[in-house]
């Protein structure tokens, strides 16, 4: 008899925890219930990894030899970089930060690059936000700002019960008519490169209580007039993030409006949380001087790589060759790289040492912080004999510590 196991999908920042995995008597996954296409692909990539557990220079290798080589690369490096973290658990992130500290690395989560905002706007002014349930149950106006969740977070609208009938308004604001826009009650088209200007314009319209008859004027009136509203967004860059934050803050004087970043990776929020609680800073942290130092402009992975500063990299739960700016990606190709991931990636394929581990959420439990910060448990509906990413990091850390002791 196949059994039905509870599962949580970590395929995107929504982290749907109502999934069921139907598992056959042989322990194999038969099918998934309630997943979206993104979720199906996420599980499929991890259930039976195509890559071997350990590779050295692209060829299958013994685990011990690969661990030794990884530790040797990282211990020898003068300026190592630790990168990624958004596609694994908080437990593994804790292990990654500890290792980064031990080797004096610079550590930077992939989230800021993938989600278009480095957190500088938050540091400068703060933010007003909410968990998804608040948006679902209270927001009379939901604005999707420059995001296409139907593509990137396929179950978002369903989970927020949107479109929501006569008393709830779904407004999509974007430079093009997206799939999500097709579902909206209202679509407001922006000029390309006019996003920041549009946000400042909205602010003025909100402050002046002036409906100028334009689509933005109508949106300003709607936001001002609602008792509760939410802006779900994918901003690009700090200026846009600051402008959005300022709009929300102005609106807070008149009504209750929050904003939520539609983070892509399942645990992008957790990566920044773990780093912040262990170091005081959410991203772009260097341990080179023995204590944490942070500066997104100077110490982000892209900046460090583009300057040619990093001489080795440990990539955890991420595929930077797929998303880094070209100059940074070129540097990453030129230095020794160790990858630890539950799935095969372009970066792993090009790495000096690659570990393809048991998958959090498929073979191992753990906790991730959903895009709204809510901690959600991942479950382990299937078995795997491979070690977890956390165990691989611990094994590397142990070897690094031994090497240090021997050298001391």
């Amino acid at each position: 008899m196949p059994s039905r196991e509870r599962a949580t999908c970590a395929g995107c920042g929504l982290v749907c925890d109502d999934i069921e995995a139907v598992v056959g008597d042989d322990g194999a996954l038969e099918r998934l219930i309630r997943t979206c296409p993104l979720g199906d692909a996420w599980f499929a990539d991890r259930v039976a990894p195509s890559a071997p557990l350990a590779r050295l220079g692209g060829r299958e290798a013994e685990l011990e030899a690969a661990l030794d080589e990884a530790a040797s690369i990282l211990a020898r490096a003068r300026a190592p970089l630790v990168y990624g973290l958004g596609r694994t658990t908080c437990e593994t992130q804790r292990a990654a930060v500890a290792l980064a500290e031990a080797i004096g690395a610079t550590i930077d989560p992939a989230g800021p690059l993938l989600d278009g905002t480095s957190g500088l706007a938050f540091q400068a002014r703060g933010a007003s936000t909410a968990t998804l349930g608040e948006v679902r149950d209270r927001a009379e106006v939901v604005v999707v700002w420059r995001a296409d969740p139907l593509t990137t977070h396929p179950r978002l609208l369903e989970r927020l019960r949107l479109p929501g009938g006569a008393d709830r308004e779904l407004v999509v604001v974007d430079t093009r008519r997206t799939a999500t826009a097709e579902q909206a009650d209202t679509f407001v088209e922006l000029e390309s490169d006019g996003e920041v200007e549009a946000l400042w314009g909205l602010r003025a319209l909100v402050q002046d209580e002036n409906d100028d008859g334009s689509p933005l004027g109508a949106l300003a009136a709607q936001l001002r007039g609602c008792r509760n509203g939410a802006i779900l967004h994918h901003v690009r860059g700090n200026v846009e993030a600051l402008a959005l934050g300022a709009l929300v803050r102005d609106l807070a004087r008149a009504t209750h409006v929050v904003s939520v970043t539609l983070r892509h990776e399942a645990n992008a929020a957790g990566a920044e949380d773990v780093l912040a609680w262990q170091t005081g800073y959410p991203a772009a942290v260097s341990f080179a001087t023995g204590h944490p130092r942070a500066n997104p402009g100077e110490l982000s992975a892209a900046a460090v790589l583009e300057r040619g500063d990093a001489d080795a990299a440990l990539v955890v739960g991420s595929d930077p060759l797929d998303h880094l700016p070209p100059a940074a990606a070129a540097r990453l190709r030129a230095i020794p790289v160790v990858t630890v991931d539950a799935t095969d990636t372009a970066t792993a394929g090009a790495a000096r040492v690659a570990f393809t581990t048991a998958a959090p959420g498929v073979h191992r439990p753990g906790v991730v912080h959903r895009l709204d910060g809510v901690p959600v448990p991942l479950r382990a509906p299937l078995a795997s004999e491979r070690p977890s990413d956390e165990e691989v990091l611990a094994a590397i850390a142990e070897r690094v510590a031994r090497a240090r002791e021997a050298a001391a």
Binding site: R6, S128, T131, L132, G133, G280, H291, V367
Partner: protein
């Protein structure tokens, strides 16, 4: 490991020991009557020996604290902490990183800390941070004062409130129950403004009903710590009436009021603030079932962080600076505003003065204990200075002269209030009292069977220096601080409550979850052993 601390003056008020010269013996993590001659000796001649400190109300872990960390890079930049052979690196400021929080509490002689405001939905996050907060045993209080699922039960099925509270504690690893501006946060989140009285309507219940229902549930469950209340109308002139109304509402049940100073204001709402500390001190003194921590403000940098989000929205308009608001579905809100208390400000000086009045007028140190509501009124690092303010009249009078004169004249501090706290009283308000109020029988004293958490101070005339730099701190029988330096790192325990509930309540709650939450009922209870262990349970003792 066995230890004998010899020749020190021991302050163990729970056992009636008041500065007596005697040995304290430790074995296997506990205080024992005697150890053999092979025990390691600590020569404490000329020193003062106390139980490890117990902080009854602080904000040290969880999403709110962490958002505040992210908000303060400039503070962290100015206060880096290096990695050593035994310690992790980190940063300080008013909201230190987790490791530094643990280290600095230990360096101050504190060994047990209460995280006072945990959204149950965020329990896993809080537990993760506590696991990264070394040196101290920790426990957390669950926010239950704006929980709409619980409000539903109060209206529809009040007999089940008690079981629901017990379930929530069990599901999260919590220790006690906290009410923050009951009803007010929910009303504000819904866009209707804050409550102003205990009888305002919030989703079909009133703050008064919430207070009564939860205080009764906690009482009937026999939780070791009574309901921990942050009253409505925090910071508002005239709020002392709300505070008194709250105390009268919970009459007949035990209750602990958080940061009483912030709730002790006379005057009219929107008008000039006055002190009502004498009246509240009097009321507290006359009602032995009640207790409070002071929530002293200290001049200088602070970070206000609270589940009382409407208060933060008001403060945002005062500072015009950084502000975080974060609404948690079903359960609570959260607001953060970095803040500086200034000596010359009338309001800040009055708040400072009211805190001191409460301390100096208190009749029973066991029931009015020390806190700064860290980091709301100031960092826990300011406790030594606060202790000096209480113990050293000349120092206090000097400080009074520097504060806003108009404000200080509105207090009784200039009226020959010459009380000086004794070392025994300090031992009560910083360890014995909080431990007793929390129902932690193994903490806050040095009798046989107590946890071997001990702090040893040089007996210095400058009480600030004395309490800022203990000579030795012993945690669970191990010396962790020697001559003001951390010499060992260790993990603390989670202290949680064991309270039973009728399993039938789970079906009721399951239905509520489907209606209100965006996480599944089965995924809500924390079951991960790496988050929950090591832990020690304190049993609830329901009244027979």
């Amino acid at each position: 490991m066995t230890l004998r601390i010899t020749g020190g003056r021991v302050y163990d008020p729970a056992n009636g020991v008041n500065g007596d010269l005697r040995d304290v013996c430790l074995r296997d993590g506990k205080v024992v009557d005697d150890v053999d001659e092979h025990a390691t000796k600590i020569d404490a001649r000329g020193m003062v020996v106390m139980p490890g400190g117990v902080d009854i109300h602080a904000h040290i872990a969880g999403p709110k604290v962490n958002a505040a960390r992210r908000l303060a890079p400039e503070e962290h930049r100015g206060d880096p902490v290096d990695r050593t052979a035994i310690l992790r690196s980190g940063t300080g400021g008013t909201v230190p990183s987790t490791f530094v929080t643990g280290y600095r509490y230990a360096l101050l002689g504190y060994t047990t800390v209460v995280e006072a405001a945990t959204p149950p939905l965020a329990a896993r996050h809080v537990l993760s941070e506590l696991r990264d907060t070394p040196m101290i045993d920790s426990l957390f209080l669950l926010l239950m004062g704006n929980n709409v699922a619980l409000f539903d039960l109060m209206r529809q099925d009040p007999a089940r409130v008690r079981d629901a509270v017990a379930w929530w504690l069990q599901a999260t690893g919590g220790y006690g129950v906290k009410l923050v501006n009951p009803g007010g946060v929910e009303r504000w989140k819904d866009g209707n403004g804050n409550v102003t009285s205990l009888d305002d309507d919030v989703a079909g219940v009133t703050p008064r009903q919430v207070l009564e229902a939860v205080a009764t549930a906690v009482h009937e469950l026999g939780l070791p710590h009574p309901v921990h209340v942050h009253c409505n109308n925090l910071g508002v002139a005239g709020n002392w009436r709300t505070t008194l109304d709250t105390l009268k509402t919970v009459e007949g049940r035990r209750a602990h009021l958080a940061h009483l100073q912030f709730h002790a204001y006379g005057g009219k709402p929107g008008g000039t603030m006055r002190s009502k500390a004498p009246e509240l001190a009097e009321y507290l003194g006359a009602h032995p079932e009640l207790s409070a921590d002071v929530g002293q403000v200290m001049f200088g940098s602070a970070t206000t962080m609270t589940a009382d989000a409407p208060v933060s929205a008001r403060l945002r308009e005062v500072t015009g600076g950084k502000w975080v608001n974060a609404d948690t579905e079903v359960e609570t809100g959260c607001g953060i505003v970095p803040f500086t208390y200034k000596e010359k400000s009338y309001v800040h000086a009055l708040q400072w003065g009211i805190g001191l009045e409460l301390f100096l007028l208190s009749r029973d140190p066991w029931r009015l204990v020390l806190s700064t509501d860290h980091p709301n009124g100031g960092s826990f690092l300011s406790y030594p200075k606060l202790i000096r303010l209480l113990m050293d009249r000349d120092f206090r009078n000097e400080q009074l002269k520097r504060a806003n004169t108009k404000a200080i004249r509105r207090t009784v501090l200039l009226d020959d209030l010459d009380r000086e706290y004794t070392l025994e009283e300090i031992a009560i308000v910083t360890r014995a009292g909080p431990a007793r109020l929390l129902g932690l029988r193994d903490k806050g004293h040095l009798g046989a069977g107590a946890d071997a958490d001990v702090t040893i101070y040089d007996d210095l005339a400058d009480r600030e220096e004395m309490f800022a730099t203990p000579r030795y701190v012993i945690k669970g029988g191990r010396v962790v601080v020697r001559d003001g330096e951390l010499v060992a790192a260790l993990a603390g325990d989670l202290l949680r409550v064991a309270a039973t509930h009728d399993p039938a309540v789970e079906d009721v709650l399951r239905a509520k979850f489907e209606e209100h939450y965006t996480v599944q009922f089965d995924n809500y209870p924390v079951h991960e052993p790496w988050l929950l262990e090591p832990a020690r349970s304190v049993s609830a003792e329901p009244a027979a």
